[in-house]
Symmetry: C2
Subunit: 431 residues, 2 copies
């Protein structure tokens, strides 16, 4: 008991110290910290993939805009013609919109929230017109940024299209498409359960636990040479075959990245195309995007479908606006309207309630989209460190944010984000 | 004596066996060999950077179009607007043009030469119009290909521009710009000597010699984690500081990649821009290129200026045509005409004669371009495994070829290339 108390104390103190030690957004600006500046950069200012330091704050604030400089990648080709041109009509009043953060009683302004969330780039479309657009730190208008788990939403949407098109049967079991998954947890999971992450997997994504399965998954997917002593799976697909069940599929939402990688495998098997290739062909090129995106890949060239996408902010906004318009954008029905309508209906709210996401009241998860079921029927793609595509159908608003918050979990970031987005939506609705 | 004889015999037999064992162009087509096909590819068909196998023939034929999938890279941004559109007027007669290879007495056709040289992509411009364009194997019209030492020509041209602009003094010693080079061979080499590779360096690029310095250079620049026992230089710039002199600079042409990396360092120091960034800004964007190129980089993010560029075939042709037009292209004077005129005058032919390039009679080397001094005053960028940009001012011809010949040395490739280019040039001159 005393031991448990001391441990709790230790964690609390440690947490407080950690919380204090994070530089704020301005002081952690990569340009201020001079990461990778100079020819050559000094040893202290060199960020490297080989020791994993590139993904630690504050170096992370640089790396998120330069993933290809640390890892092997494969491109998601942008449009080579018919590139979409946004109309811009900036509304300066947005900066002054006020809202009450979830963890506070005091109003703050939209403008203030940007630094609180270590925003690298943010764009807001209202009825398809750019009304707000800002870039900070390392991100530039023509640059790209890691989308983290927003990547899942692209893979999920591709899967949902294949269901609409009848190429994937959502009630079929994964083993029907990938026999190699037979002895894994995924074998008897349905495509629908994988799409909505209601599989029940013996798999922890607790980054603070050195024994969590996330580390074995990362090791398998690491394209760097494996240590001689390593005898685990050598790529993402080999890893997925080792995952075991932890109960019955279908009852409970369990947010686990490997569902997306299993889905990615199924998609590639039935289409004979990689996720980056299919995303480019089905979505990125038809949108009229301007900049190639890319995925990080493992040692077998397999894209990290659950988190490896990097893309340009405006290009992401094109995707969001296409979804808001039920698949129609750039004079083309890019994806079936039925696919988007299904996503917007949302997933199983009862299953979601059983998950640990207690602050996301009444939310659900569908086709790797987060559905708020709020008064505006907003829904979102969400990634760690603050990445989001937030679509508010009622306000006819699409918002994309790239960020590099010191802490990964959105629970740290939502309090100054979700009410901010809703406040802007209400403002735009009144215009 | 007997020992020497046996060794010679061994080498001859070994060479013959090796020569026979290379699959021909059609049989080594990456699509036929199914490299990296399937989800996942089989172990036998997986190409990996971690064991170095990605750069061995025939895997090389796949890798040259996918360097970013094996290595960290940084982009050379293409134009985002004012993208140049070529006019195309294909001349089918070119395929039938005949020539006598340098190592033979029998005529062969242009068409036949393409497979002999394991051509991946080739384009010919006549007066700026595309008259010939073919893609083979892994290369596509919208893809990129490793340029190998053709990369040097881009770095050299950037250096030459800075000389024209008075930012670099060609008679100044390298140490004046990079004090860290003081105790290296480069310290007292002039910018001109580095640009023309008349430095004298204790540095062997003989890939067949395991003790050649090229391996230390590669080890320093390898972005993968270094073995624990490694205590050598950690990046390209650290390596350059260790290079020692092997005589007097200025008298002899010595083709050594590290000259280009030293030049790249000098350029970055005086401009405070990386080679990929400067190349994009000064050349790739103004040309109106359509596809981002990229450079492979070392563990400190430094681009491999001497060989790490990958680019699109048509984009390369834009560069060649710009040079043929003395820097003018896409309605813009992109680089100073004086820079190109200086290159075309050529370098020191006496210095070149002292080099081992005995088959390149009367050639010279200037600003990292190869000058033929032939009857058409042709000049070229050249890279191992058959890469070239070949400019024939008299015939108003620009030719770009990407290839993946099993052997690195152009001495193996020139016999069926140089006379072929000249035959096409003479044909175009007569039109």
């Amino acid at each position: 008991m005393k031991k448990a108390f001391l441990l709790t104390l230790f964690i609390l103190i440690n947490y407080t110290v950690n919380a204090q030690k994070f530089l704020n957004a301005k002081d952690s600006d990569p340009k201020i910290l001079k990461w990778m500046q100079g020819y050559p950069p000094t040893k202290e200012k060199t960020i490297s993939a080989s020791d994993g330091s590139f993904f630690r704050f504050p170096a992370l604030r640089y790396s998120v805009c330069h993933m290809r400089e640390f890892l092997p990648t494969t491109e998601v080709k942008s449009a080579s013609s018919d590139r979409y041109q946004f109309t811009t009509k900036i509304d300066p009043a947005i900066d002054e919109i006020e809202f009450i953060p979830l963890d506070s009683n005091e109003k703050i302004s939209w403008k203030t929230s940007l630094d609180k969330n270590y925003t690298d780039g943010i764009i807001i479309l209202h009825k398809g017109v750019i009304v707000y657009e800002r870039y900070f730190g390392e991100l530039t208008k023509d640059g790209v940024h890691a989308a983290m788990s927003v990547s899942k939403t692209f893979t999920g949407t591709l899967g949902a299209i294949l269901v609409t098109d009848g190429i994937l049967d959502q009630e079929a079991k994964a083993v029907q498409y990938i026999p190699e998954l037979e002895n894994s947890a995924f074998g008897d999971a349905t495509i629908r359960q994988i799409l909505d992450m209601t599989t029940t997997l013996k798999y922890s994504e607790d980054y603070s636990d050195p024994n969590a399965e996330i580390w074995s998954f990362s090791a398998a997917g690491n394209p760097l040479p494996k240590p001689k002593s390593y005898n685990g799976p050598n790529n993402y697909y080999e890893y997925l075959q080792t995952v075991q069940k932890n109960g019955v599929h279908g009852d409970e939402f369990g947010y686990k990245t490997i569902n997306t990688d299993a889905l990615g495998w199924i998609i590639s098997r039935v289409t004979n195309k990689s996720i980056p290739h299919l995303l480019s062909e089905k979505i990125w090129k038809p949108l009229g995007t301007h900049f190639d995106g890319y995925f990080q890949i493992d040692g077998a060239g397999i894209a990290f479908a659950g988190g490896g996408f990097s893309a340009n902010l405006r290009d992401m906004a094109m995707f969001g606006e296409m979804i808001r318009n039920k698949g129609y954008f750039n004079n083309t029905q890019i994806i079936p309207s039925k696919t988007v309508e299904n996503i917007m209906k949302g997933g199983n709210q009862e299953a979601f309630k059983k998950s640990p996401y207690k602050t996301l009241t009444n939310w659900s998860y569908r086709d790797m989209w987060w559905i708020t079921h709020n008064e505006h029927n907003a829904f979102a793609a969400r990634g760690v460190h603050g990445q989001t595509i937030y679509i508010d159908p009622k306000a006819e608003m699409v918002l994309v944010r790239f960020a590099s918050h010191p802490e990964a979990k959105n629970a740290k970031i939502d309090p100054t984000s979700l009410p901010a987005y809703h406040a802007v939506a209400k403002y735009l609705l009144g215009k």
